[in-house]
Protein backbone atom coordinates (compact mmCIF):
# COMPACT_ATOMS: atom_id res chain seq x y z
CA UNK A 1 0.00 0.00 0.00
CA UNK A 2 2.87 2.37 0.71
CA UNK A 3 4.67 1.41 -2.50
CA UNK A 4 4.13 4.51 -4.67
CA UNK A 5 4.77 6.94 -1.85
CA UNK A 6 8.19 8.35 -1.00
CA UNK A 7 9.90 7.05 2.14
CA UNK A 8 9.74 9.41 5.11
CA UNK A 9 13.52 9.66 5.27
CA UNK A 10 14.93 10.98 2.03
CA UNK A 11 18.21 12.68 2.97
CA UNK A 12 18.51 14.53 -0.35
CA UNK A 13 15.51 16.50 0.88
CA UNK A 14 17.17 17.97 3.95
CA UNK A 15 14.06 18.75 5.98
CA UNK A 16 13.25 15.04 6.25
CA UNK A 17 16.34 14.33 8.36
CA UNK A 18 14.88 15.54 11.67
CA UNK A 19 11.24 15.07 10.77
CA UNK A 20 10.97 11.57 9.33
CA UNK A 21 9.57 9.14 11.89
CA UNK A 22 12.24 6.59 12.79
CA UNK A 23 9.70 3.83 13.48
CA UNK A 24 7.52 2.45 10.72
CA UNK A 25 3.80 3.22 11.01
CA UNK A 26 1.99 0.61 13.07
CA UNK A 27 -0.13 -1.55 10.79
CA UNK A 28 -3.65 -1.64 12.09
CA UNK A 29 -6.59 -3.62 10.83
CA UNK A 30 -9.57 -1.33 10.98
CA UNK A 31 -12.79 -2.62 12.42
CA UNK A 32 -16.08 -1.13 11.20
CA UNK A 33 -16.22 1.31 14.11
CA UNK A 34 -12.91 3.02 13.46
CA UNK A 35 -13.47 6.62 12.52
CA UNK A 36 -10.69 6.61 9.93
CA UNK A 37 -13.07 4.77 7.59
CA UNK A 38 -15.08 7.96 7.20
CA UNK A 39 -14.19 11.41 5.97
CA UNK A 40 -15.51 14.95 6.08
CA UNK A 41 -18.15 15.76 3.48
CA UNK A 42 -18.03 19.14 1.79
CA UNK A 43 -20.99 20.95 0.33
CA UNK A 44 -21.40 23.28 -2.62
CA UNK A 45 -22.33 26.03 -0.18
CA UNK A 46 -18.78 25.86 1.14
CA UNK A 47 -17.09 26.12 -2.23
CA UNK A 48 -18.05 29.08 -4.40
CA UNK A 49 -18.40 28.99 -8.18
CA UNK A 50 -15.41 31.27 -8.63
CA UNK A 51 -13.11 29.41 -6.26
CA UNK A 52 -11.83 27.20 -9.08
CA UNK A 53 -10.67 30.19 -11.13
CA UNK A 54 -7.52 31.60 -9.57
CA UNK A 55 -7.33 34.35 -12.20
CA UNK A 56 -10.46 36.05 -10.87
CA UNK A 57 -11.42 37.64 -7.61
CA UNK A 58 -8.88 40.45 -7.92
CA UNK A 59 -9.08 43.90 -9.49
CA UNK A 60 -7.13 42.88 -12.58
CA UNK A 61 -5.65 40.00 -14.49
CA UNK A 62 -2.67 38.11 -13.09
CA UNK A 63 0.52 38.14 -15.12
CA UNK A 64 1.62 34.87 -16.66
CA UNK A 65 0.77 32.06 -18.99
CA UNK A 66 -2.90 31.21 -18.44
CA UNK A 67 -3.58 27.51 -17.87
CA UNK A 68 -6.53 25.15 -17.46
CA UNK A 69 -5.87 22.07 -15.34
CA UNK A 70 -8.45 19.31 -15.33
CA UNK A 71 -8.69 15.62 -14.55
CA UNK A 72 -10.50 13.03 -12.53
CA UNK A 73 -10.25 11.85 -8.94
CA UNK A 74 -10.58 8.05 -8.73
CA UNK A 75 -10.15 5.35 -6.16
CA UNK A 76 -7.74 2.50 -6.79
CA UNK A 77 -10.48 0.40 -8.35
CA UNK A 78 -11.05 3.13 -10.94
CA UNK A 79 -14.29 4.41 -9.49
CA UNK A 80 -14.78 8.17 -9.81
CA UNK A 81 -15.01 10.00 -6.50
CA UNK A 82 -17.77 12.56 -6.81
CA UNK A 83 -18.20 15.55 -4.52
CA UNK A 84 -14.54 15.37 -3.53
CA UNK A 85 -12.91 18.55 -2.32
CA UNK A 86 -9.68 19.55 -4.04
CA UNK A 87 -7.63 22.45 -2.82
CA UNK A 88 -4.92 23.99 -4.95
CA UNK A 89 -2.11 26.33 -4.03
CA UNK A 90 0.88 27.59 -5.95
CA UNK A 91 3.47 30.29 -6.55
CA UNK A 92 2.76 33.08 -9.02
CA UNK A 93 4.26 33.18 -12.50
CA UNK A 94 7.45 34.72 -11.12
CA UNK A 95 7.90 31.87 -8.64
CA UNK A 96 6.77 33.66 -5.49
CA UNK A 97 4.09 32.60 -3.01
CA UNK A 98 1.67 35.10 -1.51
CA UNK A 99 2.97 34.03 1.89
CA UNK A 100 4.54 36.26 4.54
CA UNK A 101 7.60 34.07 4.89
CA UNK A 102 8.45 33.66 1.21
CA UNK A 103 11.61 35.75 0.83
CA UNK A 104 12.37 34.96 -2.80
CA UNK A 105 13.07 38.39 -4.34
CA UNK A 106 10.69 37.89 -7.25
CA UNK A 107 7.72 40.22 -7.66
CA UNK A 108 4.43 39.60 -5.92
CA UNK A 109 1.44 39.86 -8.24
CA UNK A 110 -1.34 42.00 -6.73
CA UNK A 111 -3.82 40.15 -8.92
CA UNK A 112 -2.85 36.65 -7.88
CA UNK A 113 -3.13 34.90 -4.53
CA UNK A 114 -2.59 31.38 -5.80
CA UNK A 115 -5.21 29.42 -3.85
CA UNK A 116 -8.40 27.76 -5.08
CA UNK A 117 -10.98 25.11 -4.29
CA UNK A 118 -13.22 22.87 -6.31
CA UNK A 119 -15.57 19.89 -5.86
CA UNK A 120 -15.53 17.03 -8.34
CA UNK A 121 -18.64 16.43 -10.44
CA UNK A 122 -20.54 13.15 -10.84
CA UNK A 123 -17.75 11.74 -13.01
CA UNK A 124 -15.11 12.69 -10.47
CA UNK A 125 -13.91 15.53 -12.67
CA UNK A 126 -12.40 18.81 -11.53
CA UNK A 127 -11.25 21.89 -13.44
CA UNK A 128 -9.10 24.83 -12.38
CA UNK A 129 -8.11 27.98 -14.26
CA UNK A 130 -4.87 29.60 -13.18
CA UNK A 131 -1.50 30.83 -14.42
CA UNK A 132 1.56 28.65 -14.75
CA UNK A 133 3.73 28.99 -11.65
CA UNK A 134 7.38 29.91 -12.00
CA UNK A 135 10.34 27.90 -10.75
CA UNK A 136 11.93 29.24 -7.57
CA UNK A 137 15.12 28.77 -5.58
CA UNK A 138 15.14 27.07 -2.18
CA UNK A 139 17.99 26.52 0.20
CA UNK A 140 18.02 22.74 0.30
CA UNK A 141 21.43 22.54 -1.40
CA UNK A 142 23.62 24.80 -3.56
CA UNK A 143 21.79 26.04 -6.65
CA UNK A 144 18.56 24.28 -5.69
CA UNK A 145 15.48 25.25 -7.73
CA UNK A 146 12.04 23.72 -7.46
CA UNK A 147 10.45 22.79 -10.78
CA UNK A 148 7.18 24.55 -11.54
CA UNK A 149 4.46 22.76 -9.58
CA UNK A 150 0.93 22.97 -8.24
CA UNK A 151 0.13 21.70 -4.75
CA UNK A 152 -3.05 19.62 -4.56
CA UNK A 153 -4.92 18.61 -1.41
CA UNK A 154 -7.54 15.89 -1.90
CA UNK A 155 -10.11 14.26 0.39
CA UNK A 156 -11.48 10.84 -0.39
CA UNK A 157 -14.22 8.86 1.27
CA UNK A 158 -11.98 7.81 4.18
CA UNK A 159 -9.65 9.84 6.38
CA UNK A 160 -6.92 7.33 5.44
CA UNK A 161 -7.26 8.35 1.78
CA UNK A 162 -6.34 11.94 2.50
CA UNK A 163 -3.64 13.02 0.06
CA UNK A 164 -1.48 16.07 -0.48
CA UNK A 165 0.60 15.92 -3.62
CA UNK A 166 2.23 18.09 -6.28
CA UNK A 167 1.60 18.28 -10.01
CA UNK A 168 4.52 19.02 -12.34
CA UNK A 169 4.63 20.18 -15.96
CA UNK A 170 5.83 18.02 -18.85
CA UNK A 171 9.36 18.59 -20.09
CA UNK A 172 10.49 20.63 -17.10
CA UNK A 173 14.32 20.44 -17.08
CA UNK A 174 14.44 20.88 -13.29
CA UNK A 175 12.56 17.68 -12.48
CA UNK A 176 15.62 15.34 -12.54
CA UNK A 177 17.41 17.62 -10.05
CA UNK A 178 14.56 18.03 -7.59
CA UNK A 179 14.95 16.05 -4.34
CA UNK A 180 11.24 16.34 -3.53
CA UNK A 181 10.16 14.76 -6.81
CA UNK A 182 13.11 12.33 -6.79
CA UNK A 183 12.18 11.15 -3.28
CA UNK A 184 9.68 8.86 -5.02
CA UNK A 185 11.70 5.70 -5.69
CA UNK A 186 9.79 4.38 -8.68
CA UNK A 187 10.24 6.17 -12.01
CA UNK A 188 6.75 5.21 -13.19
CA UNK A 189 5.27 6.63 -9.99
CA UNK A 190 7.19 9.89 -10.49
CA UNK A 191 5.82 10.07 -14.01
CA UNK A 192 2.29 10.04 -12.61
CA UNK A 193 2.95 13.41 -10.98
CA UNK A 194 3.73 14.97 -14.36
CA UNK A 195 0.66 16.37 -16.08
CA UNK A 196 0.02 15.95 -19.81
CA UNK A 197 -0.34 18.83 -22.20
CA UNK A 198 -3.70 18.59 -23.97
CA UNK A 199 -4.66 20.45 -27.10
CA UNK A 200 -8.27 19.37 -26.49
CA UNK A 201 -8.32 21.16 -23.15
CA UNK A 202 -6.42 24.14 -24.57
CA UNK A 203 -8.70 27.03 -25.49
CA UNK A 204 -7.87 29.04 -28.62
CA UNK A 205 -6.48 32.52 -28.02
CA UNK A 206 -6.88 32.07 -24.27
CA UNK A 207 -5.24 29.28 -22.22
CA UNK A 208 -3.06 26.15 -22.44
CA UNK A 209 -4.63 22.93 -21.18
CA UNK A 210 -3.14 20.23 -18.96
CA UNK A 211 -4.67 17.01 -17.66
CA UNK A 212 -3.84 15.38 -14.34
CA UNK A 213 -5.72 12.44 -12.79
CA UNK A 214 -5.43 11.64 -9.10
CA UNK A 215 -5.87 8.11 -7.72
CA UNK A 216 -6.47 7.82 -3.98
CA UNK A 217 -5.56 4.84 -1.81
CA UNK A 218 -7.89 2.09 -0.84
CA UNK A 219 -10.20 2.26 2.10
CA UNK A 220 -9.42 -0.39 4.70
CA UNK A 221 -12.98 -1.69 4.81
CA UNK A 222 -13.04 -2.48 1.12
CA UNK A 223 -9.74 -4.32 1.02
CA UNK A 224 -9.06 -5.77 4.45
Amino acid sequence: MTAPHPPYLSPGYRSTILRAPSQPPVPFRADPDTIELTSPVFGHEEVGELDADLTRGHAGEPIGERIIVTGRVLDDTGRPLRGTLLELWQANSAGRYAHDLDRHPAPLDPNFTGAGRCLTDDEGRYRFVSVKPGAYPWRNHPNAWRPAHLHFSVFGTAFTQRLVTQMYFPGDPLIPFDPVMQSIPDAAARERLVSSFSLDVTEPEWALGYTFDIVLGRTPVENP
Binding site: P6, P25, P40, Y97, T113, V164, A189
Partner: protein, 167 residues
Protein backbone atom coordinates in the same frame (compact mmCIF):
# COMPACT_ATOMS: atom_id res chain seq x y z
CA UNK B 1 -5.17 1.54 -10.58
CA UNK B 2 -1.98 2.82 -9.11
CA UNK B 3 -2.12 5.33 -6.32
CA UNK B 4 -0.86 8.87 -6.87
CA UNK B 5 2.30 9.42 -4.79
CA UNK B 6 2.25 11.81 -1.87
CA UNK B 7 4.36 14.97 -1.66
CA UNK B 8 5.11 17.43 1.14
CA UNK B 9 2.83 20.40 1.80
CA UNK B 10 5.96 22.57 1.90
CA UNK B 11 6.24 25.65 4.10
CA UNK B 12 3.81 27.90 2.22
CA UNK B 13 0.47 26.11 2.55
CA UNK B 14 -0.68 28.81 4.93
CA UNK B 15 -2.10 31.12 2.28
CA UNK B 16 -4.34 28.34 1.00
CA UNK B 17 -5.46 25.71 3.49
CA UNK B 18 -6.34 27.64 6.65
CA UNK B 19 -9.82 29.20 6.82
CA UNK B 20 -11.53 31.37 9.45
CA UNK B 21 -12.06 29.59 12.77
CA UNK B 22 -10.66 26.39 11.29
CA UNK B 23 -9.49 25.18 14.71
CA UNK B 24 -12.92 25.68 16.30
CA UNK B 25 -15.09 22.66 15.55
CA UNK B 26 -17.64 24.12 17.96
CA UNK B 27 -18.27 27.76 18.88
CA UNK B 28 -17.26 29.25 22.24
CA UNK B 29 -19.50 28.11 25.07
CA UNK B 30 -20.73 24.98 23.28
CA UNK B 31 -21.96 22.53 25.93
CA UNK B 32 -19.48 19.77 26.60
CA UNK B 33 -16.78 21.30 24.42
CA UNK B 34 -13.23 20.17 25.02
CA UNK B 35 -9.96 21.85 24.19
CA UNK B 36 -7.01 19.94 22.80
CA UNK B 37 -3.65 21.64 22.67
CA UNK B 38 -0.01 20.72 22.39
CA UNK B 39 3.15 21.03 20.38
CA UNK B 40 4.66 19.39 17.33
CA UNK B 41 8.34 18.55 17.87
CA UNK B 42 11.08 17.22 15.60
CA UNK B 43 13.84 14.68 16.27
CA UNK B 44 15.98 17.28 18.05
CA UNK B 45 13.05 18.20 20.30
CA UNK B 46 12.69 21.52 18.52
CA UNK B 47 9.25 22.92 17.69
CA UNK B 48 7.94 22.48 14.16
CA UNK B 49 6.58 25.91 13.24
CA UNK B 50 5.15 24.98 9.85
CA UNK B 51 2.96 21.94 10.48
CA UNK B 52 -0.72 21.64 9.65
CA UNK B 53 -2.91 19.41 11.82
CA UNK B 54 -6.29 18.03 10.82
CA UNK B 55 -8.73 16.68 13.36
CA UNK B 56 -11.57 14.34 12.47
CA UNK B 57 -14.33 13.19 14.83
CA UNK B 58 -15.70 10.48 12.57
CA UNK B 59 -18.97 12.29 11.99
CA UNK B 60 -19.80 15.23 9.82
CA UNK B 61 -21.72 17.19 12.41
CA UNK B 62 -24.64 19.49 11.75
CA UNK B 63 -22.87 22.19 9.77
CA UNK B 64 -20.47 22.18 6.86
CA UNK B 65 -16.98 20.86 7.36
CA UNK B 66 -15.41 24.19 6.34
CA UNK B 67 -18.23 26.50 7.40
CA UNK B 68 -17.90 28.30 10.69
CA UNK B 69 -21.06 30.20 11.48
CA UNK B 70 -22.99 30.58 14.69
CA UNK B 71 -23.64 27.36 16.51
CA UNK B 72 -23.44 23.80 15.40
CA UNK B 73 -20.73 21.17 15.31
CA UNK B 74 -18.23 20.46 12.56
CA UNK B 75 -16.61 17.06 12.56
CA UNK B 76 -13.46 18.41 10.92
CA UNK B 77 -10.93 21.05 11.89
CA UNK B 78 -7.54 22.36 10.94
CA UNK B 79 -4.82 24.14 12.84
CA UNK B 80 -1.47 25.39 11.60
CA UNK B 81 1.24 25.39 14.27
CA UNK B 82 2.45 28.71 15.65
CA UNK B 83 6.15 29.70 15.49
CA UNK B 84 6.66 27.89 18.83
CA UNK B 85 5.17 24.68 17.44
CA UNK B 86 1.92 24.92 19.38
CA UNK B 87 -1.56 24.11 18.13
CA UNK B 88 -5.00 24.22 19.63
CA UNK B 89 -8.45 22.81 18.84
CA UNK B 90 -11.82 23.34 20.45
CA UNK B 91 -14.10 20.45 19.63
CA UNK B 92 -17.10 18.43 20.67
CA UNK B 93 -16.11 15.22 22.43
CA UNK B 94 -15.76 12.24 20.11
CA UNK B 95 -18.29 9.40 20.22
CA UNK B 96 -15.59 6.99 21.36
CA UNK B 97 -12.40 7.30 23.38
CA UNK B 98 -10.26 8.90 20.67
CA UNK B 99 -9.97 11.56 17.98
CA UNK B 100 -8.22 11.01 14.66
CA UNK B 101 -5.35 13.40 13.95
CA UNK B 102 -3.34 13.84 10.76
CA UNK B 103 -0.17 15.92 10.52
CA UNK B 104 1.36 17.56 7.46
CA UNK B 105 4.60 19.57 7.37
CA UNK B 106 7.58 20.62 5.35
CA UNK B 107 9.90 17.64 5.52
CA UNK B 108 7.04 15.14 5.72
CA UNK B 109 6.82 13.59 2.28
CA UNK B 110 3.67 11.81 3.47
CA UNK B 111 1.30 12.92 6.17
CA UNK B 112 1.35 10.98 9.42
CA UNK B 113 -1.86 9.67 10.95
CA UNK B 114 -2.35 9.09 14.66
CA UNK B 115 -5.02 8.92 17.34
CA UNK B 116 -5.53 11.05 20.43
CA UNK B 117 -7.01 8.97 23.24
CA UNK B 118 -8.76 11.04 25.90
CA UNK B 119 -8.82 8.13 28.33
CA UNK B 120 -6.65 5.07 28.88
CA UNK B 121 -9.15 2.33 28.18
CA UNK B 122 -9.02 -1.25 26.91
CA UNK B 123 -8.70 -0.78 23.16
CA UNK B 124 -7.70 -2.96 20.18
CA UNK B 125 -4.98 -0.54 19.09
CA UNK B 126 -3.64 0.53 22.48
CA UNK B 127 -3.55 -3.01 23.83
CA UNK B 128 -1.24 -4.10 21.02
CA UNK B 129 1.44 -1.53 21.91
CA UNK B 130 4.18 -1.74 24.51
CA UNK B 131 3.53 0.57 27.48
CA UNK B 132 6.02 3.28 26.48
CA UNK B 133 4.61 3.55 22.99
CA UNK B 134 1.04 3.32 24.28
CA UNK B 135 1.69 6.40 26.38
CA UNK B 136 2.38 8.49 23.26
CA UNK B 137 -1.28 8.18 22.23
CA UNK B 138 -2.73 9.30 25.55
CA UNK B 139 -3.73 12.92 26.01
CA UNK B 140 -3.04 14.49 29.40
CA UNK B 141 -5.99 16.15 31.15
CA UNK B 142 -5.04 19.75 31.89
CA UNK B 143 -7.90 20.54 34.24
CA UNK B 144 -8.91 17.63 36.40
CA UNK B 145 -11.79 19.56 37.96
CA UNK B 146 -13.77 19.89 34.76
CA UNK B 147 -11.87 17.51 32.48
CA UNK B 148 -12.44 19.84 29.56
CA UNK B 149 -8.87 20.46 28.43
CA UNK B 150 -6.23 18.05 27.21
CA UNK B 151 -2.63 18.25 26.10
CA UNK B 152 -1.24 16.09 23.33
CA UNK B 153 2.25 16.58 21.91
CA UNK B 154 3.30 15.06 18.61
CA UNK B 155 6.92 13.91 18.38
CA UNK B 156 7.77 13.20 14.78
CA UNK B 157 11.03 11.38 15.49
CA UNK B 158 13.26 9.90 18.18
CA UNK B 159 12.72 9.53 21.89
CA UNK B 160 9.04 9.39 22.73
CA UNK B 161 8.16 9.26 19.06
CA UNK B 162 4.40 9.27 18.57
CA UNK B 163 2.87 6.06 17.27
CA UNK B 164 1.74 6.65 13.69
CA UNK B 165 -0.70 4.35 11.96
CA UNK B 166 -0.96 2.53 8.67
CA UNK B 167 -4.35 1.03 7.87
Amino acid sequence: MTITPSQTVGPFFAHALPYPHDWELVPPGHPGAITLEGRVLDGAGDPVPDALLELWLGRTGDRGALRRGDGGVSGFGRCATAPDGTYRFRTAPPAGPYLSLQIFARGLLRSVLTRVYLADVPDPLLDGLDPARRATLLATPLDTRSGDAYQFDVRLQGEGETVFLDF
